[in-house]
Structure formats: C-alpha cells, structure tokens
C-alpha cells in the first residue's frame, strides 16, 4: 500500500470545527491538489500532517503503518516536508548554510560531504540551486526552490506545498511545475494546496475538495472542470464571469507625475512613476508582491513620504496634505495585507466602531453618535453576508474573510471619487470575490476612478480597463487589458520593459 492516509481526522479550535472527520489519501508518485475556499480547513489538515497541529481524533498511516506526529521533527523523521507560504530562510547565509542549519549531528558540520549529497539531489530533481549564493541575492522563485531542496535533503519524500504559486510570476510558476513533475517521477508524494483552479487542473493527478472542514469529494483531475470544482467548493452553482462594466470615461481625475519615494534605508521604492486615471476607469496594477504596490497606495493616501514628484487630484496637489485632508477630498484607500487587519481596522473594536474610523470627526460637538454607524453596520453585514454574532462583537474574533468584508464594505459605502483598493479579494471565497468585483464595477459606472491592485492576472485582465505593471518600484509598462495576455504581463512583472519585448518581436 503505497499511500499516506489520514483517517477520521477531527480538529477543533474553541467552538470552531476546523476539520470534521476527514478521510484523505495521497499516493506516492502523484501530485494531489487540495482545493477549498479560505477557512475550508486545508491548512489545518496539512499542518497535522507536518506535526504542527495534533489532531483531536483520528489516525495517520504511512505505507500502512500508523504514526503519531507530535512535532515537526517527528514529521520530518517519517519523510514529511512542508514548504510554507513564508519561507523560513536566513537571509545573510548561503544556500548551503541554510540547508545544513539545524541538522542533528556530531557538533561539526561536514560541509564537503554534505555539499556532495546536496549537489546530487539538486541534479536529480533538476533544481539548479547555486549553493554559494546568499539568500538575500535570490529571487522569490530561487528561494522557493531552495526550500524544496532543504526538505529533500532532510529525507522528505512526502512534500506539502502551501499555496506555492501565490508569490510567483507565471514564468516562475512554470518552473515550479517542472520541479513538481520531476518529484512525482522520482516517486514522491506531492500535496499541492491552491485556490487557483486553472493551476490545479493543469498540474495535479487527483484532487480533494474541502468545504467547511469536511472532505466533499476526491476526484481524478482529468474527469473534472472549473465549473464543477467551483460548485464543489462553494456548495452551489456559481457564475464565474466578471461583467466588465462599460462606463463613460470622464476627465483625468488622478495624475501622478515623476513620483519617487525612498524608504527608511534610503532605497528608492518608487522610481519616477508617471500615470493617470480617468473617472469611470479601472486602472489595474500587476506585479510580484513587494514591487512598490503598498508604497504607491500609501503615497497617494498621504501615508508615505514623497521624495520627489507630484500627485494631482482634479486640480489640486496632494503631496504635503495630511491623510485626513486627503480623505475629505474623496479618496478612499484600502489595502488588505496578508494578515487581513493591517492599518484599515481596529482589531479589538466592534463593527460599529470600525465603521466610524474615517468619518467620526465630521460629527459636530464633543461626543460621538453611533446610531448612523450601527445602521450602516447592519446594512453592510447584509450586503456582503458577513457572519458575525452581532454588530457589537470585536472584529478580531471574526474570520479573516469576514474582517476583510468589514473593511471593503466601509470603503465602498463611502462612495469616494477615487477608490484605491489593494488585494480586496485576498483569500475570500469565490462567491464573495465576484460580488466584490460587481460592487467595484458599480462604483466605476458612477464615474469613480479606481486603482485596483491585484494578484490574480486573469481577474486583472477581465476587470481592468488598463493594467500598469510594476517591478522593483518602476513602471514596466501600461497595457490595454483587452489586448494583453498573461504571458505579456508575466514578462513585464519579471522586469522586461515594453521596449525590450518589442525589440524581441522584431528580432
């Protein structure tokens, strides 16, 4: 029996049943995708396989033998290695040093013997890791490959990849898929977690869909399609089309000229950006995470110091104004960071108190009247289907997706003239994501200018009018969404300029 099987796994956090009596089976020599919306219990399930969580009940068998995985160490001892979303590497060390860190041994590092074994592995799996390169010199893709090599070196033949493509360009994703196929051919079991259905359909042999902590179904990938998977994930049929709203383009509402910002280390994070957005237009922003998206949003909102250049809104210059003056002019900025909370919300406060965050100061007098905010809270809960015990419940106790809906609801409800929204659907389930796209389109129809920072290229192409691609704080190109392709965006994201590409075409 060449399988890893989890039987009757249940895990409860407080009153939340994260995994309920799940049976899950992966064969050696296959790529098995684990699919599900946020909060479906994917991470909980694999964290029990990698020894981070301990199941409340259930058993884990590898090749027919039962194992009790009580720590990451016991998991790696039986050959289970996990590649987390956030890499666990020491930046100032080389690839080789990172691999050898934390190894049990005799107290001495036998670098030469280790190097030989690592080189063999790198060769066998065609990873192409340069062992003497320092981690800080590596691209995101290289770091990920290094993480894979690290767990292979520790003897893993069961690999878990937790949303590995979220931070990669399309080209880097291709390379990862080659490596995954290679691991499969070598007889490893590969568990691939993702909510991008097209990737799952391309790379996996079988897939398991989780919904609300339960195993809904395990299918052969070749027998299924996007529509069926979406339905399994959500529980009812869903429409997967974004209706690109046709809106009358107004006059230029926002003009950014030669915008340059430096961070605390005096490194330029935005390098002379030039672009405009019209009323009734959605300008999409694509780029690998950390290409200057956050700084751009914050600079417009008055939260990030501007070194040089101008930001003109209508007729007025924004640089130098306070964040409150900028809010009052009708600019709303919502940035959804990885931890969902970020700077837009106050975690320990309830929904009502979060509603008034940006407009409480408009009330007259010394005291705050919370009645209008309470009405607004009720309205948003209904509109975006936020699940909460009530409007007076601290938002930190809601799930990440619901917290995010509170933020988006407030920002959309403010009906600004310029809506800046970064990663608004990050980790939201499909249904709500599409509802958010519709709401953004509605705002567009009203003639608002929208700056939409996204990570899913398919969505960017469908939703935006134009797409601006950032790489290392520079604009690599601004393309018409209707005429571009994912490949073109991918090359721009990786740092090829539009001129480079035209040059290539001519050759």
């Amino acid at each position: 029996m060449d399988v890893i099987s989890m039987k009757g796994i249940t895990k409860i956090f407080g009153s939340v049943v994260a995994n309920k009596d799940i049976d899950f089976e992966v064969k050696f020599g296959e790529i098995h995708a684990l699919l599900g919306e946020n909060g479906a219990g994917k991470s909980t399930l694999v964290n029990m396989l990698s020894g981070i969580y301990i199941p409340d009940s259930g058993s884990i068998f590898i090749r027919g033998k039962e194992f009790k995985l009580t720590s990451p160490r016991t998991a790696i001892d039986v050959g289970i290695g996990m590649i987390h979303q956030h890499y666990k590497l020491v930046e100032i060390m080389t690839a080789l040093e990172n691999i050898m860190l934390g190894q049990k041994g005799q107290g001495f590092l036998h670098a030469n013997t280790a190097r030989k074994r690592i080189e063999e592995l790198s060769e066998r799996f065609q990873l192409g890791v340069v062992l003497d390169k320092k981690v800080y010199d590596m691209s995101v893709g290289e770091k990920q490959t290094l993480e894979i090599l690290k767990v292979l070196y520790r003897g893993a033949d069961i690999l878990i990849l937790d949303e590995p493509t979220a931070v990669l360009t399309p080209q880097e994703t291709e390379k990862l898929f080659l490596v995954m196929n290679r691991m499969k051919d070598e007889g490893c079991a590969v568990i691939f977690i993702s909510h991008k259905m097209n990737e799952v359909l391309r790379i996996s042999d079988r897939l398991t869909v989780l919904r609300k902590g339960e195993n809904v179904n395990t299918l052969e990938t070749k027998d299924t399609n996007t529509r069926e998977l979406a339905e399994l994930m959500v529980g009812h049929p869903v429409s997967l089309a974004i209706n690109r709203a046709e809106a009358v383009k107004g006059k230029v509402l926002l003009a950014v000229k030669n915008l340059t910002c430096v961070n605390e280390e005096k490194v330029q994070v935005l390098k002379g950006l030039n672009f405009t957005i019209r009323g009734g237009e959605i300008l999409g922003v694509a780029g690998v995470a950390g290409s200057g998206q956050k700084e751009l949003c914050e600079a417009i909102a008055g939260l990030y110091p501007v070194k040089k250049g101008e930001i003109i809104f209508g007729e007025e210059k924004l640089v130098g104004l306070s964040p409150r003056e900028i809010i009052t002019k009708g600019i709303s900025m919502s940035f959804v960071p990885e931890d969902r909370l970020g700077m837009g919300l106050v975690a320990s406060m309830d929904i009502v108190d979060n509603m008034i965050l940006k407009d409480y100061h408009k009330q007259k007098g010394f005291l705050i009247n919370r009645k209008p905010a309470a009405d607004k809270a009720v309205k948003i809960i209904k509109k975006l289907d936020i699940s909460t015990p009530g409007i007076h419940h601290p938002i930190k106790e809601l799930s990440g997706g619901n917290i995010q809906k509170v933020l988006l609801g407030r920002e959309l409800e403010a009906h600004p003239k310029l809506l800046i929204t970064a990663y608004p659907v990050r980790g939201l389930d499909i249904n709500v994501s599409y509802k958010i796209y519709d709401l953004i389109n509605e705002e567009k129809k009203k003639g608002e200018a929208i700056l939409f920072v996204g990570e899913d290229l398919d969505v960017l192409i469908e939703l935006s009018d134009r797409i601006m691609v950032l790489c290392h704080g520079e604009i690599m190109g601004i393309v018409e969404a209707a005429k571009t392709t994912k490949e073109e965006l991918g090359l721009l994201m990786a740092g090829e300029t539009q001129q480079d590409m035209e040059g290539m075409r001519r050759d």
Binding site: G14, S15, L303, G342, M349, Y360, I368
Partner: protein, 360 residues
C-alpha cells in the same frame, strides 16, 4: 500529557464566577498558611479584617478616604493605559500636583476659601499634567520609552519635595524639625458626611471619565491610537496631539489626587504625600479592566483590604506582613484566573481513536 487549549468565548456570568472562585481560593490558601504558620483560627482573622474595614463609622470613613484618592489616580492611569502609554509616573504626578497646590496654599493662605480651593484644584491638575507632559512630548517627538521616563521622573519629583521639606520650605516654627508648615483652614477641603469632599469628586470623575473614554471623539482617538499607530495615521488622527492631550489629562487626574492628599488628608505637603498610590493605582486599573465603574469598585475593595490589614495587626496581634501576604495572594489568584478564562487545560492523549470530540 497536558495540553493548553484556547477556549471559546465564555459567558459573562461564568467568567465572573471564576473570578469569585479565585478570591475564595486565595482566602483558602491564606487560611492554610495562617493555621500552619501562626496557629490562629483563620476565621477570626478574616472577621477581624472585615471589622477593621467596616466595623465603625471612623473605619468606614478611612476606607472611603483611601478609596477616593485611589480611584481618582486609577482613572488617570486608565486613560493613559487605554492608549497603551504605560504611565508608571503616577507617583511623580501626585507629588507635583501636591507641590503646585501647596505653593498657593502656603503663599496665599488668606484668600477666600472657595477661591483658594478652586485655584488649588486647578494648580494641582496643572502640576500633574505638566509633569506628565514631559514624557508625553518626548514620546511624541522622539519615540522615547515612556515606561522608563515616567518611572525616573517619580524620583525627580520625590527628591524635589525632599529638597523643599528640608530646605527652603522648612517651617521655622517647627523647632528645627524638618516639616513644611500646615495649611490655613481656607486651604483645606470641606467635609461632606464626615469625609472630605474628594469622594464626591471621585464619583463625578467616574462618570466623566466613562463618558470621555467611551463616547467622546478624543476617547475614540485614544482607543484607536492605543491599538495601532498605523491605523490612527490611516484614519487621519493627529498622533502627537492625541498623545499629549491624553497624557496631560492622565497626569492632571494624578495631580488632583496629590492636591486632595495635601489639602484634605495631610493638611500640608510632605515627602510621604503619595503613599505609593501611584503604583497601587496601576494594579487597581488593571483589575478594573480600564473601566471606570469597575475601577471604583476595585479601588474601594483595595482600600478596605489595606485598612482591614492594618487593623488585624493590633486586633489579632499578627505582623503586618500577613496582611500584605493576603493582599498578594488575592492579587495572584485573581490575575492568574484570567489564564483559565482564556484557556483550558486538557488531560489525556491527543490521538483518540474514538470520536467523541465531534459536534454534530
């Protein structure tokens, strides 16, 4: 195998029950200690403790008097803590409030009573507020660590009072004894129902601070800023001004405490003016969850415990350390029980073959 598991939200009645249980356990533990170490009947000790706090009109007055200053100082500390500004400088602010008020009392003893007292209240609040302004300004301007600075400024204030008491303000008519002259009658707060009027101040302030923290714009800004400076910035809150305003008010309330101590309790200024209230207030503020109503209750219980504790020394003939031990144990148990309100301990093996944990 023992595991710690996070609890789901607990109903308020249950968490209140756990806290009550903690107090009972503290009493039980100290009962064992009293029997073992002193061979006394713990029940006698507790009855004496209660009698010491509430046994006569005089004792009740004492408790109210102590609860008054503790409550006002705790309200001040609560405003700072709500902003997560760790004001450990209550002592110093009490001293400086007392100093400012005393300056008026000693230099203008013949002013009409109402005018003089009003000015002294304002001066006391100004003194405490200014003393707190210094660390607040440093924090707002250069992000200095307020914990250390407020703490250090306690000693500066205390040494300043020592200098005054042994130097320029020493009462020449005290025959060389280092004390500052007593205030004139006009500089002493009047009594209502046998206790100085400060207790009415305290009750009014409980209401005002509650409104300020929970229903005012400034209170909202303080809470947002306490949670995250980035969020405050995002919301357009003026961070520097909010820090300085909030901490000035915090210090002003501690300063008022100092004024009441000097005017009504000691009738003069001395180095013993603060009696550790600034530090005790930190404990009562925490135990009162930064909520004015709870702070009033906790401060009163605390004052009763101290009062009862000093009584049992003479009544039952046990060392003061025992009373302090009892206070310590109650604190230990009450603070410790917060852990059990948030987490539970599960015994047994994590891998169960049965499936009892599943909620259907």
């Amino acid at each position: 195998m023992i595991r710690i598991v996070k609890r789901a939200n607990m109903p308020k009645t249950k968490s209140a029950g756990i806290r009550l249980l903690a107090v009972l356990l503290a009493l039980l533990t100290s009962a064992v200690l009293i029997i073992l170490a002193l061979s006394l009947n713990p029940l006698d000790v507790y009855i004496a403790l209660f009698k010491g706090a509430f046994g006569s009109a005089y004792r009740i007055r004492e408790v109210v008097e102590n609860a008054t200053v503790l409550t006002i100082a705790s309200l001040g500390i609560a405003i700072a803590f709500k902003m997560q500004f760790w004001n450990i400088g209550g002592e110093g602010q009490i001293c400086m409030g007392a100093f400012f008020a005393s300056f008026l009392a000693l230099n203008f003893p013949e002013l009409p009573k109402l005018l003089l007292l009003t000015l002294m209240v304002l001066a006391g609040m100004l003194g405490g507020g200014l003393w707190a302004f210094i660390p607040a300004y440093l924090r707002a301007k250069w992000k200095t660590n307020e914990t250390i600075i407020t703490l250090m400024m306690n000693y500066i204030a205390l040494k300043w009072l020592t200098y005054l008491q042994y130097g320029p303000w020493k009462d020449p008519s005290a025959l060389g004894f280092p004390k500052i002259a007593n205030f004139s009658d006009n500089a002493i707060l009047p009594e209502v129902f046998g206790v100085h009027i400060g207790w009415i101040f305290a009750l009014i302030l409980v209401v005002l601070v509650n409104i300020f923290l929970n229903h005012s714009k400034k209170g909202y800004e303080i809470a947002v800023l306490g949670e995250s400076e980035n969020t405050a910035l995002y919301a357009g809150i003026n961070i520097k001004r909010t820090i300085i305003t909030a901490i000035f008010i915090s210090g002003a309330l501690c300063g008022l405490t100092g004024m009441i101590q000097a005017s009504a309790v000691n009738n003069t200024l001395s180095v013993e003016i603060s009696k550790g209230i600034g530090f005790t207030a930190i404990i009562t503020t925490w135990l009162g969850f930064l909520k004015p109503g709870f702070i009033l209750v906790v401060s009163t219980l605390f004052a009763a415990l101290v009062q009862g504790g000093s009584f049992i020394q003479t009544a039952v003939g046990i060392p003061q350390a025992v009373a302090e031990l009892l206070q310590g144990l109650i604190l230990f148990f009450v603070l410790g029980c917060e852990f059990f309100i948030r987490y539970k301990i599960v015994l047994g093996k994590p891998f169960l073959s049965d499936r009892r944990g599943i909620k259907e």
